[in-house]
Symmetry: C2
Subunit: 199 residues, 2 copies
């Protein structure tokens, strides 16, 4: 509908996740009217990210060198590995400041519907890391949904006999939430995982 | 939270309209994992749009030359001008195939709250086009909201005495809508603008 270059930009923006045709049009016109500097900054950021960013050889997290910041940090506890699906899960856990170990990013979760099996994830790399014998605990922090649970079950069976403690993040009521609005599975898990209170 | 280049990209994407922090993160990781070709196409589209696209000298629509495609088309009726707020409104009207005249893009609507007055819009350029005396009808097609109505009222007063027919798009019930769900202002307008049916 638009002349050449504008339509090309709308088409390209419309391919991004979460950007529909209306959103793509809105962004395109915003950029058309924006300072050239703003567009240059966006173009530079896009180019840099492809040129500089890679994945950590060890854990699979995003990195700007062979090792990511966390794997390269000698203060991190190398005996505990937290297994997550995506790099953004690493950021979410880092924000809690609860965990001082290292991570292992699987790159997704087992999902037969999408044709994703264990071989498509970085499971072999995890086993290689565990083979060194230094690791004492593997914390499985995959998403608490169908695919994440399937992945957690698969990994816990795989790791059962190699002599590491395998744990899974607790399921339960979200803090600040309303019991009334909790779905029955979450509420069920919260009951199942209830703890004695020593007042 | 992320390493340099990734965070820079998330920051830049987060500045786009309609893209929140979560959306920016999602797009950034999508691009990180995408083919280099896809990112190159997006970068090219961004660069091209800033290099090639300008605004039509006559009507203010997006163009790739001095005149936009519509103003440059000799088959378009030069005696009717449809006044719209934004280039995307031109596309919306073109899609109807109802109008064969030319357009005039104001670049917005009068909005005292945002400090936008008639001098910030392409009103002077419209008056210059009308001064030639060839134009017989001006169709005001600003948005049917507060700012659009204010702009329409302003323009219709301005054009009252210069000898052109000034019309405004009809307000009423949207086709395919439900009378029950129409807001009272729209329903009121539909009553006000009711037409005799000659069966």
């Amino acid at each position: 509908m638009y002349e050449g270059a504008v339509q090309d930009l709308i088409d390209e923006l419309g391919r991004l996740p979460g950007v529909g045709p209306k959103g793509a049009q809105r962004i395109a016109f915003h950029l058309l009217q924006a300072d050239s500097d703003d567009v240059t900054r966006l173009v530079t950021a896009l180019t840099e990210v492809k040129a500089k960013v890679r994945f950590c050889d060890l854990c699979g997290n995003v990195a700007q060198a062979e090792r990511c910041r966390i794997c390269a940090d000698p203060r991190r506890d190398q005996t505990a590995i937290c297994v997550v699906e995506e790099p953004k899960d690493v950021v979410a856990i880092e924000r809690t400041r609860e965990f001082r170990g290292t991570y292992h990013v699987l790159g997704g979760a087992i999902s037969p519907i999408d044709g994703i099996g264990p071989d498509d994830l970085r499971v072999r790399e995890l086993m290689t890391r565990l083979a060194s014998g230094d690791v004492q605990e593997v914390i499985i922090a995959t998403d608490p949904n169908l695919e994440g649970e399937a992945t957690a079950t698969y990994l816990s069976r795989l790791l059962r006999d190699i002599g590491v403690t395998v744990t899974r993040l607790a399921s339960g009521l979200p803090v600040g939430g309303d019991l009334e609005y909790a779905d029955e599975v979450t509420l069920g898990r919260a009951f199942e995982g209830r703890r004695r209170v020593d007042a």
